[in-house]
Amino acid sequence: MNLNYWSWDTFFDALPVVLQGLGITIGLTFASYLFALIFGFLWTFLRRVPNRFIHFIVTWTMEFIRSTPPLVQLFFIYYALPVIPYIGISLHPFACAVLGLGIHFSTYIGEIYRSGIENVDKGQWEASTALNISTWDKWRRIILPQAIPPTIPMLGNYFIIMFKEVPLASTIGVAGIMLLARSYGAENWSYLEPLTIVGIIFLVLSYPSAVLIKKLENRFNKRFDKNQIMKDKGAMQ
């Protein structure tokens, strides 16, 4: 088979160029994810404020953010935000991407936290009250340690989903692998090899991440001694 449209020379020529953006792509993934994890807490707690008005505002803001494409949000933050009088600020593309992707995904992460918290038995709250545990310690030592571990697989999935949305940042000029591949393509008039490289990089990173998350999940389960429960169940059958 003669693949005359595919050139290994171009491939190996483009590879180091594209790889230069890997640090930015991975850095942006982690930064946005961290932002989303923290901001997600904010949503979760704001929704718990016992005030109908705040609850209404927060719920609809989350709905709005979730129902608009992340690409539009990125463009808005990068192009439109700076021209708004008084509050308008002009940010570095990387910061815009962290803000845009971080806020978008924080709404999903906030939902995950909420489901985790709601799954903690009501009796756990009551026992904490009966032991006179402070509100802060209640969250920190009793509720969250039970609410978060079961959500780790879901949180992990969102990490990988977010990683795959990071190339969107190339549209506002973040020099990750996607932008470098596109500019290599434009300069050399060959898009096939550099974009294939981008695809391979994503595959090579996503798959091990999924495996890693699975491992992490098992480790957290062990802390909860679920294995012991499984063993007990096995012994009973």
Partner: protein, 256 residues
């Protein structure tokens, strides 16, 4: 006679349109053992949940050791108690639940230690020593590092009692603590309660279906019916010699 440690003054509680407590007046004295009996839905559990601050009364006052539990004075006016006020009183009260409510992510020793260490800021080594003593007392000294999921229901409930005792409450509340247990495990839990009742000088309020046990350890028995205290007195007065037809039919149903 000494001052009561807990006083209910015309306490009412409604859930939506349903009034569960319709005016409860009650004095409980230090070291007194009180059993609360009555048909399900009569408001037994609600009485102690109000005292544990798990529910708010709709009307009336609950006085704990001379202080109003659900109200506080501010600038000469009585306002609804805030969390700080509740916390300052709640420390005197401990509770054991029907479904144990142990913390599943902690070993049973950690279950006992977490509140004294973080709530009362006590020295960790003291708390550890006291927790181990308490767990030995309830017969679980060999399970310190086990997780709740590895214990039987009776063992879980004994841990829950040790956990409450380590806090050294002045008043202990027991909310149908044997109702979720398999019949063969009830005895071991009742033995621990009996041990506490005989050797500790705290006041105890037991909501229970164990009539014979209540008769045995209680100084005072309350018969609750449709949100009011229909009958109260010593165990033998209420359980054996009551002339109230509601009490009689309830006991008859119970004893078959």
């Amino acid at each position: 006679m000494a001052e009561p440690i807990v006083t209910y003054k015309d306490v009412h509680k409604s859930f939506g349109d349903v009034e569960v407590l319709k005016g409860i007046d009650l004095d409980i004295y230090p070291a007194e053992k009180v059993a609360v009996i009555g048909p399900s839905g009569s408001g037994k559990t609600t009485i102690i949940r109000l005292l544990m601050t798990l529910e708010q009364p709709t009307a009336g006052d609950i006085i704990v050791d001379g202080r109003n539990l659900w109200k506080m004075e501010k600038n000469g006016k009585w306002i609804h108690a805030n969390e700080n006020h509740l916390r300052s009183i709640r420390g005197d009260i401990g509770m054991v639940f029907q479904h144990f409510n142990l913390f599943p992510h902690m070993t049973i020793l950690e279950n006992c230690m977490t509140a004294p260490v973080h709530v009362k800021n006590e020295e960790k080594s003291d708390v550890k020593k006291r927790s181990i003593e308490m767990l030995e007392r309830v017969g679980l000294g060999d399970k310190l590092d086990n997780y709740p999921s590895q214990l039987s229901g009776g063992q879980k409930q004994r841990v829950a009692m040790a956990r409450a005792l380590v806090m050294r409450p002045k008043i202990m509340l027991f909310d149908e603590v044997t109702s979720a247990l398999d019949p063969e495990l009830v005895g071991e839990v009742l033995n621990v309660i009996r041990d506490i009742a005989e050797n500790d000088d705290m006041a105890m309020i037991l909501v229970t279906h164990e009539m014979d046990f209540a008769l045995d350890i209680a100084d005072k028995v309350l018969f609750l019916d449709e949100g009011v205290i229909a009958e109260q007195g010593t165990a033998s007065e209420v359980i054996e010699h009551s002339e109230n037809p509601r009490v009689q039919s309830f006991l008859q149903r119970f004893r078959g």
